[in-house]
């Protein structure tokens, strides 16, 4: 992390993980994960299915406890003060399990017992805003309406941290939009949102910070803007198939060949990168542009992508590490 972000983290960390390890029998879910989420941001956690996102969230909400390492939310230890934590956070899982036989007002009334006053008013407002029918039992609601009820239950008590675990999977664009608006709204009033999602386009719109988990390890933790500025997509067209061209300087994440074009995803591309490609190199038409988040994600997480190893540059052959 650069200095600014480091300072911010030290100041008001809403969520903090230090060297957390977790394994389930033979599978390693999390390996040496350290993370600090500052307050007031929308923090996106990306990763493939099975990367460990849900495990991480379970550790934060107190479902599981880490094998080794320290996890804390809002300054409170996840192991010992999980009740306090649960009072202050809201959690929406994917496919939330609600009492099917209750109606939305009933479940809100039921939940209000566990939170301080004010829950019911806000919950009522949210239901009105989301346009959820009041008299229908939850088992008869559509998937989107259920998700909205779950969201309303989670933010009714104005939590300081809202954790969303793939909340919009399988929902229609209208509902997804409403979720995004809610997230954005929380951030606008200074609360923190931890979003674990596959919908990269959504993440690109709303996230401040992005972390990418791959096989239980954190590959990237950075503000989104920084990440997108740093990673570029370099395309080169070669004269003839099979001609060897040099690899651009900087940290090359992947290299893909299609016909007579080669494309690299490069981190920290120096400004004078074109100097490496004199006309004699056999490459015409060089261009560099910002990579989209999806391309970055795939570049980092795709195990089958080729990562060119340049023998004389030790820095490039080191395994990828988090930005720090």
């Amino acid at each position: 992390m650069n200095m600014a972000t480091q300072n911010m983290a030290a100041r008001n960390s809403v969520l903090s993980l230090k060297s957390v390890y977790k394994r389930f029998q033979q599978t390693v879910a999390l390996h040496d994960v350290s993370l600090d989420v500052p307050s007031g941001v929308v923090f996106a956690l990306l990763g493939e299915n099975g990367a460990g996102k849900s495990t991480l969230i379970k550790i934060l909400t107190g479902y599981e406890s880490a094998d080794y390492g320290h996890a804390s939310v809002l300054g409170r230890d996840c192991d010992f003060e999980s009740m306090e934590i649960r009072r202050k956070i809201g959690y929406v899982s994917d496919a939330p399990a609600l009492y099917e036989w209750m109606t939305p007002p009933e479940i809100g009334w039921f939940t209000s017992a566990f939170y301080p006053k004010g829950f019911l008013t806000r919950y009522q407002q949210l239901l009105a805003e989301f346009n959820v029918p009041a008299e229908t039992k939850i088992k008869n609601l559509s998937k989107g309406q259920r998700a909205k009820v779950a969201l309303a239950l989670a933010i009714g008590h104005d939590p300081e941290l809202l954790i969303l675990d793939e909340p919009t999977s399988g929902l229609d664009p209208m509902v997804r939009r409403q979720f995004l608006e809610s997230m954005v709204d929380r951030a606008a009033v200074g609360r923190t949102v931890l979003l674990s999602s596959h919908q990269i386009s959504e993440v690109e719109r709303v996230a401040d910070w992005v972390a990418i988990l791959h096989h239980g390890q954190l590959k990237v933790v950075a503000p989104l803007e920084e990440l997108k500025t740093e990673v570029q997509m370099v395309t080169a067209t070669v004269d003839s198939l099979g001609s060897v061209v040099p690899v651009p300087r900087g940290e090359v994440l992947t290299e893909v060949h299609t016909g007579r074009q080669i494309r690299w995803i490069v981190k920290n591309l120096p400004d004078d990168w074109r100097d490496d490609f004199p006309p004699s190199a056999g490459a015409t038409k060089l261009s560099a542009q910002r990579a989209t988040l999806e391309e970055i994600f795939i570049a980092i997480c795709d195990d089958r992508a080729t990562r060119p190893v340049v023998e004389d540059d030790a820095a490039l052959s080191r395994p990828l590490e988090a930005l720090s």
């Binding site: 060297s19 390890y21 977790k22 394994r23 390693v28 390996h31 040496d32 909400t61 107190g62 479902y63 599981e64 406890s65 880490a66 094998d67 080794y68 390492g69 192991d79 999980s82 009740m83 306090e84 649960r86 009072r87 959690y91 899982s93 939330p96 399990a97 609600l98 009492y99 099917e100 036989w101 209750m102 009334w109 039921f110 939940t111 209000s112 017992a113 566990f114 939170y115 096989h215 239980g216 390890q217 195990d303």
Partner: protein, 775 residues
């Protein structure tokens, strides 16, 4: 009260609502049926049903609350959602326990109210045994048992993830606990209580045990509700192993050659879903029946609750429950997460689906039936076996239908027993008078099975409309009606045919001269009256009180007793018993002669002379066979024995008198009007319904019995039991509920006409042998 607790209580109450309503409504309906039966039959033994209901329903509630409260939350995932809220987990447990206690309490109160109403109306006819059950001790015991059941259920529900597994483990646990409690109670009762310290200690221990029961579920609940703690490692675990992403390796299972046949595929899938709970239930049944089989060894014959009908009843109830749940297992695994849509969406044939679900549980049920047949055998248990088997079949069918019919799958496990009970209770008006009725309830299984077959289509598509519910109700009604219908059809359709020629023959048969007292049967002397003057000249060798002489029947009993005096080595005692035997043989002979004259009622020969003769011969035989008697004593008593044997009636006399007695009794029977009608001292027309048909049936049965007995030749030895018409039918003419196996041995008509001479020959033979060997 704490707001959180209040809301949790509301939520738990709402979850229980359907079960509680079903049970309370069921209680009321069953009670109404019982009242109707009592009113219709005016029979006090129906009060037992009320007691049974009073005990059963709250326990069914206690059985059902934990799976509904804990298991279904676990399955639907809402327990996980609750965990993400700031709800302190002990509060969740407290709320569920409280709701459970209240539900069971309400059920107890309601049932007790109904019981009190029943008792206060029919107080006068209350049987004695019922009174003992209504003592405060017993009531406390029952209530405590419900509590035990409830909290053990909670414990297991928290412990096992699936509610079904919890239920299956609960059954043997609670049976074990029940018997353990009995042992403890018995041990306690058997100890002296010098300083009354025991009673205080007992109270304390009861309180401690209750507290333990209530707090026990907290342990597994904590594991389920609170954070999962994993052991912290000391240091960071070693580095990541090289993750080798294997390329997809083709599995042998997916090769073309291994494509299964459709039946195999279905059966494999059904078996994999059903195997574990089914095996669990089967193990429970096996353990229970083994314990039953070994009960005399396990518990010792001195324990009162073993030798009484208590244990067979408990075992029956549990086995029927097990079979019911086996039936529920047929469609439960598919219903539980709507997996049947997998089958419906692909258009699998309904027939295959239905059969493949049924096969494994049906086989398990057959196993239970076999266990009952082989391990439950024994004297006094044959009717129990038949009844249990039928109820198990019925339970299975009810479970089958319920698991398909109920949309909330766990509820099916409690609706099925209720349905079984409902069908059994519908049979109640008939149970009192028709002893074989309960074995017919297995027939009710057939419409239920057909109903589930017809419903398969709707079930697969989950398309239950009101017409479906109507059809199912129709089938259930059919099931209820099929039993009495079949029973009565068989009963009246199986009447022997009329024998007009034989009847004419019998009516024309000449009767003894003195047989003119059909119009005034009261004036005929009984054997008592006949014996009295005879006894004046033939005094009995035993001591009798003065007034006993006037009561020959009592004399008879005393004489029978004296036959079995101990001290067989004592010559005097031996002589006394032999002489008593001689007296009995003499008066049998006298009675026979009297019958031939028409001077005595024919029943006396059939019911008294024959058995007495047999008893006397039996005694003589035993005395002679008894090897403890030394040769000297034997030599002394031999003359007495020979005298006794001489006193016995001759073969011809025996046969003739027996035939005449039968013919006379038959003739007398024709003039009796009834109801009820009696033949030779026993009621022959039973049953409360269709009196004219019953009478006709009784008449025909008597005709048939007498006809077959009379045409049977005495020389051929006693009729074999395989000879249905001579042996089976006569037993059947006793149409009442009196079970001949439990009737007093002496009161049965003796059909073993040839047995007397057989024994006589045996005795003479043995005497000769002994004389020969002693020389």
């Amino acid at each position: 009260m704490n707001v959180a607790l209040r809301h949790l209580l509301w939520k738990d109450t709402r979850m229980i609502a359907s079960l509680a309503t079903a049970i309370l409504v069921g209680t009321l309906v069953f009670q109404l049926m019982i009242w109707f039966t009592i009113w219709a039959n005016a029979s006090p033994s129906n009060i037992y049903y009320t007691i049974a209901l009073w005990i059963l329903m709250p326990n069914l509630m206690a059985l059902g609350v934990p799976p509904m409260l804990v298991g279904s939350e676990e399955e639907s995932g809402t327990l996980g959602w609750l965990r993400s809220l700031p709800v302190p987990w002990p509060l969740v447990v407290v709320s569920k326990s409280l709701v459970g206690v209240i539900a069971v309490g309400v059920s107890w109160v309601f049932s007790s109210l109904l019981l009190w109403m029943t008792i206060s109306v029919w107080e006068s006819v209350l049987p004695l045994t019922v009174e003992s059950m209504l003592q405060s001790d017993a009531i406390r015991g029952f209530a405590f048992f419900s509590l035990e059941l409830l909290f053990t259920g909670f414990f297991l529900a928290y412990l096992c993830r699936s509610p079904l597994r919890g239920l299956i483990i609960l059954v043997p646990t609670i049976v074990g606990l029940f018997y353990a409690m009995q042992w403890v109670e018995a041990w306690w009762d058997s100890h002296e209580d010098p300083h009354h310290l025991w009673s205080i200690g007992r109270v304390l221990i009861t309180i401690a045990y209750t507290a333990f029961l209530i707090l026990m579920p907290l342990l597994p609940a904590r594991r389920r509700l609170a954070r999962r703690r994993s052991r912290k490692s000391a240091g960071p675990p070693p580095g990541l192993a090289e993750r080798d992403d294997q390329p997809y390796a083709p599995s042998a299972m997916l090769g073309e050659a291994s494509r299964p046949a459709m039946w195999r595929a279905f059966l494999w899938q059904a078996w994999r879903q059903q195997s574990r709970p089914l095996i669990g239930l089967a193990i429970v049944a096996v353990l229970l029946m083994t314990a039953f089989w070994l009960r005399t060894f396990l518990f010792g014959l001195t324990r009162p609750w073993v030798s009484s009908d208590n244990m067979p009843l408990i075992v029956s109830v549990v086995l029927v429950l097990v079979c019911t749940w086996m039936g529920c297992l047929c469609f439960y695994p598919d219903s539980i997460s709507r997996r049947h849509f997998f089958l419906a969406d692909r258009g699998f044939p309904k027939r295959h689906v239905w059969w493949s679900r049924i096969v494994a549980p049906a086989l398990a049920m057959v196993l239970v039936l076999l266990l009952v047949h082989y391990l439950g055998a024994g004297f006094r248990t044959r009717p129990w076996q038949t009844i249990t088997r039928s109820c198990c079949l019925l339970g299975f069918a009810c479970g089958l239908l319920s698991s398909m019919w109920m949309s909330r799958s766990t509820l099916a496990f409690f609706v099925a027993p209720l349905l079984t009970l409902a069908i059994l209770f519908a049979s109640m008006p008939f149970l009192d008078h028709y002893s074989g009725y309960l074995s017919y309830v297995a027939l009710a299984a057939i419409p239920l099975v057909v109903a589930s077959w017809r419903m398969t289509g709707d079930w697969l598509k989950d398309a239950y409309r009101w017409t479906t519910q109507l059809r199912v109700s129709g089938y259930i009604l059919l099931a209820v009606l099929v039993v009495p219908t079949t029973f009565f059809v068989v009963r009246f359709g199986g009447m022997p045919r009329e024998l007009p020629e034989w009847r004419a023959e019998m009516m024309a048969k000449p009767m003894p001269k003195a047989f003119a007292w059909t119009s005034q049967p009261q004036s005929v002397p009984t054997i008592a009256g006949y014996l009295k003057p005879w006894l004046a000249t033939h005094p009995l060798p035993i001591e009798v009180d003065g007034n006993l002489v006037d009561s020959p029947l009592m004399l008879r009993t005393r004489t029978l007793e004296s036959l079995n005096l101990h001290g067989s080595n004592n010559t005097d005692a031996l002589l006394e018993s032999i002489q008593s035997a001689q007296r009995m043989l003499e008066w049998s002979k006298a009675a026979r002669l009297a019958v031939l004259d028409g001077a005595v009622r024919p029943t006396e020969v059939l019911l008294y002379a024959d058995p007495d003769e047999r008893a006397a011969l039996n005694t003589l035989y035993n005395r002679v066979l008894n090897l403890h008697v030394d040769a000297e004593t034997l030599a002394m008593v031999t003359p007495a024995i020979e005298d006794a044997l001489d006193a016995m009636a001759s073969e011809d006399l025996r046969e003739e008198s027996w035939r005449m007695a039968l013919a006379m009794e038959w003739r007398l029977y024709q003039s009796r009007r009834g109801p009820p009608k009696m033949f030779a001292g026993t009621y022959v027309d039973g049953g409360n319904y269709f009196p004219r048909l019953e009478r006709r049936r009784a008449d025909r049965n008597v005709d048939y019995a007498v006809h077959s007995l009379l045409s049977h030749r005495v020389d051929d030895g006693p009729p074999s039991s395989a000879d249905f018409y001579t042996f089976g039918v006569p037993v059947d003419i006793w149409g009442t509920g009196t079970d001949t196996y439990y009737g007093r041995y002496e009161d049965r008509i003796d059909f073993y006409v040839g047995l007397g001479p057989y024994y006589k020959a045996l005795i003479e033979q043995t005497l000769q042998c002994r004389r020969a060997s002693d020389r």
